[in-house]
Symmetry: C2
Subunit: 137 residues, 2 copies
DNA sequence: CTGATTTCGACAATCATTCTCAACTGTGCC
DNA sequence: GGCACAGTTGAGAATGATTGTCGAAATCAG
């Protein structure tokens, strides 16, 4: 376990990304970039992509692939714990949810078919109360 | 349900796509295209994309977005029934699975948060016995 | 501070997918 | 069978997200 991954430096840009992520929305890398720019940052798009990816690798942010193929990022509660989300398709607001029953189920199914190295994705999407009210449903 | 969608014509290309899909693997549109070409077809890539999409709309094939962002297609058992898959990350072989417990759970969670128009994605991936044996894991 | 190394950012490149449009072909009608 | 015509096709261009490139700028160790 010797530092094969030399801890990334804490640069202004990295700090900005982390700060922006505090809003805890699910947004695409491009959207985060726009947001940072609109707040006066001069950060580059490639930097945002790199930053989000490295944070995702470290488990600091969750990355989910939307139906459109875009990857959405969001800062997550715990770096370690495995969890899923209920995300609003209209505004991106997300709630972390826990699906203990499913974790067990997944492994049972996998074993039945002798599949190894199981990984699973559960994505719940819907329209949140606010957006429903606003007619964005 | 009155034919607002004028039934697509049965062309040579459409027939070829349908035939290829009989192998029931999960493959990307590009992969299906290559396969058809390698079998002597002169079908175009755009046609494969269009064909797969329209079949997906009709519920004839399942479409899932892989982690890479590619969309994978596979002919499915029942047009109507909602189901999920356990897919091999190495060879694409997939098994249809049923997760009745989860369907209920999803709706319960959604209601707790007052989210409407719920949709869910469950993707189980692993490495099948054959690929594990072949060391592709 | 100074130098070695990493990270940045503008832009080019890549990859999957969609669009454009002229040529082609099922389908319904005679 | 043959005709007309709207739906389809296929090559290539266009798009949109993401990744690679590389000189310039910034960070960290000494």
């Amino acid at each position: 376990m010797n530092a094969t991954t030399p801890a990334p430096r804490m640069t202004r840009q990295r700090r900005e990304i982390l700060e922006a992520l505090d809003t805890r929305d699910f947004r695409s890398a491009q959207a985060w970039h726009e947001r940072l720019r609109s707040e006066g940052s001069t950060i580059g798009l490639a930097t945002v992509y790199r930053g989000l990816q490295s944070l995702a690798d470290q488990g600091e942010v969750d990355a989910v692939v939307a139906e459109s193929g875009e990857t959405l990022y969001r800062r997550c509660e715990a770096g370690d714990e495995h969890h899923h989300h209920l995300r609003c398709r209209a505004c991106g607001k997300a709630v972390e949810i826990d699906v203990p029953e499913f974790e067990a189920f997944a492994h049972r199914i996998a074993e039945q078919h002798s599949y190894g190295d199981i990984r699973h994705t559960i994505e719940l999407t819907g329209v949140c109360p606010e957006c429903t009210a606003a007619g964005k449903g």
